[in-house]
């Protein structure tokens, strides 16, 4: 589904990713862990197409198409979802308006029929229910006045409504207490744990992986994947720290 080959980039002239390679197949959940400054968020933003994240080498192919050649909104319409570590607040635009415009923009780009108001509200209700988020929250402006946990749950409601094939979730577990972590974890499983979908979880900690079991765990350090393994690698990292594991 996603093949990243020898990807390098720079931000403000500083090299961050230095030849990163990773392949994700349909039906798989991958976790990327790594110390601060390793380039985890940079990887997410680069795949999402954030302006300022200039690619200097390598390639990323998504469902057979050149991902890096697409505009950010085209990547979304192609089935990519980027979960933000710090979801952005948009005063004056309600979540429902935001999501309906987003979904219908994607549908237009794919040549599909747009949802009408009633169809959209039914879909939003169903997905908000999965994440135990009150519909009244969705009538409020995007992320404005939401707690850290509410923002992350709202992100997962967005994911549910947009129904991507590949979700790249950047520290979706940060700012969540244990109850919210359970809800978000089961939301990710319900929406994305399917044979035709895949997830790339970017996280500092093992704890989200108790709820969303990865098939593969990778360690990102110094701008490349330095170690890959199964779920046991995450436990090893938690137990021994990055220093020990990377030195071994």
């Amino acid at each position: 589904m996603l093949t990243i080959d020898n990807l390098s980039n720079e931000i403000d002239g500083k090299a961050i990713l230095k030849g990163l390679s990773l392949t994700i197949n349909a039906g798989e959940i991958h976790a990327i862990m790594g110390p601060n400054g390793a380039g985890k968020s940079t990887l997410a933003y680069t795949l999402g197409g954030r302006p300022g994240y200039a690619v200097t080498g390598g390639s990323a192919t998504f469902e057979g198409a050149d991902l890096l050649d697409m505009e950010p909104h085209e990547r979304a319409a192609a089935g990519l979802f980027l979960g933000f570590q710090y979801p952005v607040e948009i005063p004056g635009v309600s979540n429902l308006q935001f999501l309906r415009e987003s979904l219908n923009s994607q549908k237009r780009a794919r040549g599909e029929a747009e949802l009408n108001g009633g169809e959209f509200i039914r879909l939003a209700k169903e997905k908000a229910g999965l994440l135990d988020l009150d519909m009244d929250m969705l009538k409020r402006p995007v992320n404005v006045g939401f707690s850290g946990g509410e923002k992350k749950r709202a992100e997962m409601v967005q994911m549910g409504i947009l129904d991507p094939t590949l979700a790249i979730l950047d520290e979706t577990d940060s700012g969540l207490d244990i109850d919210a972590l359970k809800i978000v974890g089961s939301g990710i499983n319900a929406i994305m744990r399917k044979p035709d979908k895949a997830v790339l979880l970017i996280t500092h900690y093992q704890r989200l992986l108790d709820y969303v079991k990865p098939d593969f765990v990778h360690v990102l350090a110094g701008g490349r994947i330095v170690k890959s393994g199964g779920p046991e690698l995450a436990l090893e990292l938690e137990r021994e720290g990055y220093g020990e594991v990377l030195a071994a």
């Binding site: 302006p51 909104h73 980027l82 933000f84 979801p87 948009i90 004056g92 635009v93 415009e101």
Partner: protein
């Protein structure tokens, strides 16, 4: 503020310093000011959709007298013409209220202006001006607002909230408040900001699938939302909002 003076103003004239005097010359002399009087204790409202043709020019001057205890609300959408200028010369009686809610939306080489002169001549009057401007291309949007508080006009409460959004670096927004206060128990609040569309919000919207035009239009609608919220006549409100959105869509 001059209405229907016979000599063409120059840029040295404060009230015309940002204007397009060439466009003005094409319609000079401008029609006489419209006079509106609101009788003591009455409530009245009015609106203007200034949408002159692209190559035209329009100047609308209002002279408004609001008697004791009366209230007047004006809603303005200023979007048309090479020059589009709307001015208000308002005189407030005791305990009266004047409120202007306006939007300027311009592109190309348009010059769009709102000029207010609000005189608090008597005690206990309140006034407010809210103006939101969206400017693209080489457009210039200006708000010049003076508040004059006479010596007897104690407990005056006046505010101006002026915000402009520039869509291109070549567009210009001017906001020029002027306070002349001779009373000592007075509240005059003034805020003016100029900004650009939030890049982080634009990327967030793009990451959810919105193309740039859709995302910008949504942010700009949010920026001007509120200006026409309290228009009492639903048909007028719909017409102003639809005209604002149609104009926005030509700019993104």
């Amino acid at each position: 503020m001059m209405a229907n003076a016979l000599t063409l103003p120059t840029r040295k004239d404060e009230a015309w310093r940002y204007s397009d005097l060439h466009a003005l010359a094409t319609i000079w002399p401008v029609p006489a000011a419209r006079r509106i009087g609101v009788a003591a204790g009455e409530r009245a409202h009015d609106h203007l959709l200034q949408d002159a043709a692209d190559d035209g020019a329009a100047v609308h001057d209002y002279v408004i007298d609001i008697a004791d205890g009366a209230r007047f609300d004006f809603h303005l959408l200023n979007i048309g013409g090479k020059l589009g200028r709307v001015t208000f010369d308002v005189r407030l009686g005791k305990g009266s209220h004047f409120e202007l809610s306006g939007a300027i939306i311009g592109g190309g080489d348009q010059t769009l202006e709102i000029v207010t002169k609000v005189t608090h001549a008597q005690p206990d009057a309140t006034s407010g001006q809210t103006v939101r401007s969206i400017l693209g291309g080489r457009a210039t949007g200006s708000y010049l607002g003076s508040i004059n508080v006479a010596r007897d006009a104690q407990r005056t409460d006046a505010f101006q909230s002026i915000k402009a959004m520039l869509l291109d670096r070549t567009a210009t927004a001017n906001a020029k408040p002027e306070l002349e206060i001779y009373a000592d128990d007075v509240k005059c609040a003034h805020g003016a900001t100029v900004g650009e569309l939030d890049r982080q919000a634009l990327f967030y919207m793009a990451s959810r699938g919105m193309d740039p035009a859709t995302a910008k239009t949504l942010l700009l609608k949010a920026f001007v939302a509120g200006v026409f919220d309290d228009v009492s006549d639903e048909a007028v409100k719909d017409r102003l909002e639809a005209a604002a959105i149609a104009k926005l869509e030509t700019l993104v």
